[in-house]
Every structure is written in structure tokens, then in C-alpha cells.
Symmetry: C2
Subunit: 479 residues, 2 copies
């Protein structure tokens, strides 16, 4: 029986609030706050209408630590569930520290002025969280989140040593329009068209011999541009990290035709994604980790054509005496992402393809979840991309409130070299300090989280893949 | 030895002025006027720099009949050469009528508020021009213009009766950018994405069995749109005209892989083009006439993607509290068409593929011109698309000043059914009235015009195509 304060009433926020309201034995009091009270009210009304009871709503400016502190002091929740914008992670973490309140989020801190994201500034809170005796859980969405837990679960039950991980994110949904983005186009398109990177500490694996060069995204590319491109897509380099190396790849340059069980073969592009940063530190024996996302020919072609004419530009330009930012004009023109939820059909499929050794033998394990867009909309008025992020946030919150994760709960320490950590993060994942501090998903016991996935709408499947590529199902949470 | 007043100092205007200055034995005095004196000055300076002598420059608001009359009275030219905007044809024609001055243009009147163009309002000047004893020459560019003359030339020398005409317009130029338009993108993209039409009075020919359905432009099309489309692209109908029928076709719906001699095979799309309207009236025995333009996969894909996101919309929308028109934003983002001239490589190829009967036998004749973008830029600072329009305008002006076309010159009467003509156009092409009136290109003797093409930089080739598709060259103006 706990009081939780949720910040953020967007697509994911709606899912989290609904799912918490479906677990009243744990979440006895739910407060939902965002900048716009109306958005909270829509969610509260829907929850009530679905017979899931009352939730309280409130207003807050999550950019302001003082406002956040005042809100926390008003309700004195056990936990703050942050599903606001990633720009607001630090102000909310700071408010939790000042009020000694547990913290959870789903996406790591992003600098407002760049598409760059990293855990460093959040890890720097670890020592202070330990000292305050509070628990901060980072990245409890699907990816990051469930994908990290899949890896920890594989490490615990299926491997003595994991050598390589490929995280596969497939959205096989169809909203019926020629082109739209599932969330804010400004963030989405910049992220996808940013340079990719993977981590490796093995020369052979660094060759990526299983991947091929893109010919779809680049089909209509010409070398000469009539405007200058952002440096972020161009400045490719290698960077040492945790005994291995980050290697940059040009945006959408490498791809593979992955087969997604129950969905089919999809063109999947190497991207950078935030869970890589923490998994490298926490999966023992790891030699390479990559992240792939599926993109259809139509999506990629639209993106390239829009880029070619200058529509993805983020600089201000002069237009008929006004100032406009092209990518913001594009955002105005495209369908509102929220309008896609009721019309999206098909499924999401996200999984971890893991290779390593068990009992001296090579082994390949694939763990995945499939989620149906229409079923999600029916259950909580959201499409699959919001659902798969929101449900794990609720599960993380549930485990914290139940004491299964967090203070007092056992931890899985990292590989014990924190020399590159920022000040305040020196003991992250090393010293459990009775469970206080700032923790990533895979540093907690995966078993209770995996059990909840099967109960809360995101059942998982584990298969073993033999040397002939044959799949054998070892666990199926849907049965 | 004549004084000519040229209106319009854009890309085509630059070519006309340069080419007139190269024919000083006819154009002894040249006045170039436009809204912007600076644009005239740039052209005058270039002409002087190339050793082609002085031209005079002046300012005028060509939308205003009074301003135009004042300008004509100031210089008392023999002829006004109109290469201003097509919206301004009527005000300039009216000023010529009031001052009893000969008139020439290259593109027919377009309503400022729609992509629709037609000759009707210009033909309505015919009786008044006849009464005033002045000559108005409509559409003396390449297409319309040279293409009309090619047809008249074929009719005069190669056929007893012409049954079908396909006008082929291929721009095989490359400016090196992924996407740009050769002239104002607002006009260009709306024209291309407007519905197509052809004219036919034969049921078999109406089937267009030689064409195939587009699969390139429509590859990324979805039925559902998140905004509403312009009616102009949707409202397809058939309309009786001159004993046959205009048949509408959805934009870019039908295409053919035409082989362009010396250039190669290019995907060519059925479009509507203005010369069809007059050729139907003037080519005896005609059963079908069509117009094709080449578009590459990249161009079509960019256009469709831009259309899909709403960038071709011409309605005003709200953006961050400002009003913007999407296609105007696109215009701001795309390269300035003028900047393409120095960087365009490759050729244009425009021709008329004509089938009919000579001496009781079937015959196929193809007449074409090839023009090199880089050579044009070297000669007159323009790319091929401006050059091929500007040179014929100068030739038309030259023939009028020399008395080879115009007052006193023989005419080729039309098919003598003017019952659908607007008031004032009842005698267009029927009564030569000593050569006064408003005339289309193909109603004049093609021979002196064709001879000038070979001398002035646009040499033509005539080939006969036999039943096996073999080409035999009958005339080659380059030799």
C-alpha cells in the first residue's frame, strides 16, 4: 500500500497511470501531475470510466526543482515516477534527493540543445542517493528497461558468460498514412538521422561481417547539398570505453535483414541506443553490443527526401520576413502522434539476441516480447510504443513499492572498474550501501521483474537457437 | 532595322536579349524593361561585356496597362516581346492594341489564382488586332513554339494527312543536387502534380494501349491522407472539343519508356501542355495528340514524399502563431533556380513524333532538337531550359521585324470551325485580314522559322521511322 506521484501525462504517462490503477493492492494512492492539468484530467476520467477508481491530479513545472519539491512535500509519496520529458530528469532527481523520495524514470537525461543523451549526469547522483538512503531506478521502460532485464535474466539463468548482445527493436505497426512519426517528430527524426555507434572489444567482431551497407536510405542521396549539414551526423570517431571502444557509424549506414519470430524478416538498422552505455558495464565477458531498429523503405525514403530539401534543418531561416525552423514546420504539417493510436494496426516486437557460453559450450538465446497495437488501444487508449514503455515503468514502481527492488534488496554488482565515472558516481554498482543509490535495471534481480511482465500484459518468450538456426522455445509467458 | 521592346528580365529574358543583340542587322534598337531595373542592368552589362553592344533598360509594372502604354509610347517600338510572367499577357496585349504595336509572347495566359492556362482570352483579341492592323504571335518559345512549327513543317513537307502527334519533352540535365526545380517551384510542382489530359477523336487511339500505369510516382502513396487534397488533381472528366474530346488522366498516371535519339530511354509521363489546344484546331486530320515529359525516379519520389507530408499544400496554415503556406516554405528551402544554370550538365531533347499518311502510305516522322546545358551557359549565361525558350522568341521577333511573318505574310488557315471561339475570336485562323490578328505558331509558314533554328543555335533533325522502328535521318541541321 503506497502513495506514488507520477510526473508526465503524455502517451506513456497515460499507460503508466492506467496500469498503476489496475494494481491498487500496491498503488493505493496515485497522484498524476503535469504542466497541463487538462491532460491529467483526460487520463483520470478514462481511468474512472474504466472502473479503475479515482486518481488525484495536479499541476507542476517539472523544469523547476522548487516546484517539484513543493509538489512532493504536498503529497509525501513513497516514489516519484518520472515519465515527463528527458530534459527534466535532473530537476526531478534533485527534488527527490532534497525530499528523500525514491525515483524512477524511463529515458535518460537529454541535453535540451542536442540529440545527445547519456547516463553520466544521472550516475553522478549515486553517492548522494546512497547517503540519503533513497533508491533511484534509471530507464525502466522497454528499451532501455525490459531489454536490460532480458540481458540480466539471460546472464543469471542461461549463460556462464555472455559475449555478444544484439538488441532488436521492430515496430511492425501501420497507421495507414504515408508518413508520420510515433512521437515528437523533432526528437524522433533527429535521433534516427544521428550517427550510429556500437561497442566492441574484439577485433573480429568489430568487422560486423554479418551486416551490409544501406542502399535504401541512400538511394536518393547526392553528395552535393545546397545547405550545410549538422556536424552530429558527420563527425565519426572511435572512443575508448570500459576496456573496449565505441565505434561511430554514419547514420543508417549498416543494416541486416533480421528475422523477427512471429513477425517476419525486416530491414534493421544499426543505431545507438541508451541501454548500451550501462549494459557494457554490467554484463560480464561482453565483447560486443549493438542495437538495431527496423525501418521500412517508405519511412527511410521520406526521411531522406525531407532531409534533401532541408526540412530536417534545426537552424532558423528567413521566410517571407518571418523566422522559421524547418523541422518545426515539418512537425506542424505531420499528423499529431497522439492521433495515430486509434488507427495503428500490427505489432511491436522487441528482443535480445544473445550469444555466449554455458557449461563450456557455445549458446545462442533470443528473448522477446510481442505487443499488439490494437489490443493496447483497447486496454489503455494507447498504441504499442507507449504501452511497451509505460507497463515496465509501472512494474519498476511496483517492485520498489513492494520492497522487491530498492532499499534492502540484493543487487548485481558491475564489473568493478569505475575509474571513468563522474564525481559522485564512483561507487555506482559497486557498493550496494543497503540498496540505496542510483541503479540501472540490469543491476537488480531480474526474476521478479520478468514474472511481472507475464502478468501485466508484456509476456516474454525465451528460445534457444541451435547452430542450424532452428529455434526451440524454452519459456513462453503467454502459456 | 527595327526597334523592339522586351518585357521581362528573368532566365528566358536574358537569353532573348542576348540573342537579339547577336542579330543587330535586324534588332537595331533593343529596350529591355522589367519591374526590377537591376535585373535588366545585369543582362545589359553581360551583353556589353560579350562585345554585343549596348541595349537600353527601363522599369515597368507590366500588370498595369497604363504603365505599359506609357512605356510603349516612350520608345515607339515596332514590336513588344513579352517574356514576363504569364499572368501579365493580357495587360501587355491590351497595351499593344491601344498603341497599335505588334505583340509576341512565349507562354499563354494563366490565371493568377490557379494552375489553369488557356488561349481563349488571348484569342478574343483577334478581331481587335485585325482591325488595328497589328500582328500578335502567341507561344513563340520551344514548347509551345518550336513544337508547333515542327508539326506545321511536317504537315507541309512530309504528310498528306497527320493522324497522331506525340510531343516529347526530355530534360536530361543534372544539376548535381538531390532535388531542385528548373523554375519557380510553386508553379513547377503544381503544374506537374495537376491532372493530365490528351485530345482524341478515335476510340481505338483513346485506349492509349502503348502506355503503362505509373508505379514510380505512386510507390509511396497511401490512400489515407491527414489533410485534404486540391480538387484540381482529383476531378477527372471528359470534355468535347473541336470534334473530339479532351480526356483527363490522374496526375502522372500514364507513362511510356520513350527512346530519345542520342539521349537514351527515359520514363516519360503524359501531361497536359498548352500547345495541344491550338494544334488540335490547326493540324488537319488529327485523331489524337498527347504530350509527354520525362521525370526521373528521384524527382518523382521527392515530389510524392513532399506531397505526402503536406509540403505542396497551397492553403494557409497556422504555425507557431504565424501564417505560412507550405509550398512557399518549400520554395524558400529549395535552391534558387537561377543558381542551377552554371552547374547543370547534360542535354535537353524535345521532339514531335508524328504519324500519318503520305502518298497513300503510313508514315512516321520524328523531328527533334538537342540542346546542351553547358554550351548554353557559356553562350548566354543560361541553362538549356531557358535557352530553348528564349531563342525561338528571338526568332519569332526576327521574322516579324523582317516581314517574313506577320502583316502581309501568307497564313495557314485552321480547320474552319470556330463556333466554340470566344467573342472576338470568331475569325481567328480563318480570315487572314492581310495577316493582322492573333495567331498561333503553326498558322504561319514554318520554313523561314525552321531555317532560323539551324542558324541561331537550335538545329533540328528530321528522321523517318520505318515499321521495324529503324530511324533514317532525312535532315540534320547540324551538318
Amino acid at each position: 500500500m503506497a502513495c506514488v506521484l507520477q510526473i508526465g501525462a503524455g502517451g506513456v504517462g497515460g499507460v503508466v497511470a492506467h496500469k498503476m490503477a489496475m494494481n491498487r493492492e500496491v498503488f493505493s494512492r496515485i497522484i498524476l501531475a503535469s504542466r497541463t492539468l487538462d491532460k491529467c484530467k483526460v487520463i483520470a476520467d478514462s481511468i474512472k470510466q474504466k472502473g479503475l477508481g479515482e486518481i488525484e491530479i495536479d499541476c507542476v513545472d517539472a523544469d523547476s526543482v522548487e516546484s517539484m519539491v513543493a509538489l512532493i512535500e504536498k503529497y509525501k509519496p513513497k516514489l516519484v515516477v518520472n515519465v515527463a520529458l528527458p530534459y527534466q530528469d535532473l530537476s526531478i532527481m534533485e527534488a527527490c534527493l532534497r525530499t528523500k523520495t525514491h525515483y524512477l524514470d524511463t529515458a535518460n537525461y537529454e541535453h535540451p540543445d542536442s540529440a545527445h543523451f547519456e547516463y553520466k549526469e544521472q550516475w553522478a547522483y549515486d553517492t548522494r542517493y546512497k547517503q540519503a538512503g533513497i533508491f533511484g531506478l534509471l530507464g525502466s521502460g522497454f528499451d532501455p528497461g525490459v531489454t536490460n532485464v532480458f540481458c540480466a535474466y539471460a546472464q543469471k539463468h542461461y549463460f556462464d558468460e555472455i559475449h555478444s548482445i544484439d538488441i532488436l527493436d521492430c515496430n511492425a505497426g501501420d497507421h495507414g498514412y504515408a508518413f508520420a512519426t510515433n512521437f515528437n517528430p523533432e526528437i524522433n527524426l533527429r535521433e534516427v538521422s544521428s550517427k550510429a555507434r556500437f561497442w566492441v572489444k574484439d577485433e573480429n567482431l568489430a568487422q560486423n561481417t554479418d551486416l551490409k551497407k544501406d542502399t535504401i536510405y541512400r538511394k536518393f542521396e547526392r553528395e552535393e547539398k545546397h545547405f550545410s549539414l549538422e556536424a552530429n551526423t558527420q563527425d565519426l570517431k572511435n572512443e575508448d570505453y570500459f576496456g573496449g571502444q565505441w565505434q561511430d557509424i554514419a547514420p543508417l549506414d549498416l543494416m541486416k535483414e533480421w528475422e523477427y519470430p512471429e513477425v517476419g524478416v525486416k530491414n534493421s538498422y544499426l543505431l545507438y541506443h541508451e541501454e548500451l552505455e550501462s549494459l557494457v558495464r554490467n554484463i560480464k565477458g561482453l565483447k560486443r553490443i549493438r542495437f538495431f531498429m527496423t525501418f521500412g523503405e517508405s519511412y527511410l525514403t521520406h526521411m531522406k527526401c525531407l532531409e534533401n530539401v532541408g526540412l530536417l534543418r534545426v537552424d532558423e531561416i528567413e521566410h517571407n520576413g518571418q523566422k522559421i525552423v524547418p523541422i518545426q514546420v515539418l512537425k506542424t504539417l505531420l499528423p499529431d502522434p497522439a492521433s495515430l493510436a486509434p488507427r495503428t494496426k500490427g505489432q511491436t516486437h522487441i528482443g535480445c539476441y544473445i550469444k555466449g557460453i554455458k557449461d563450456g559450450k557455445d549458446r545462442t538465446i533470443y528473448i522477446y516480447n510481442i505487443c499488439d497495437h490494437e489490443a493496447c488501444y483497447k486496454e489503455v487508449n494507447a498504441q504499442g510504443v507507449s504501452y511497451t514503455t509505460g507497463v515496465p515503468a509501472m512494474i519498476g514502481a511496483k517492485l520498489i513499492c513492494e520492497g522487491k527492488w530498492g532499499i534492502g534488496a540484493a543487487k548485481i554488482p558491475n564489473n568493478a572498474d569505475n575509474s571513468d565515472m563522474p564525481k559522485g558516481g564512483e561507487f555506482q554498482g559497486i557498493d550496494s550501501h543497503n540498496g540505496g543509490g542510483v541503479w540501472n535495471m540490469e543491476q537488480n534481480d531480474p526474476d521478479p521483474f520478468m514474472a511481472e511482465l507475464n502478468k501485466q500484459g508484456l509476456p516474454y518468450v525465451v528460445c534457444e537457437i541451435d547452430s542450424n538456426g532452428e529455434r526451440k522455445i524454452l519459456e513462453d509467458g503467454r502459456k
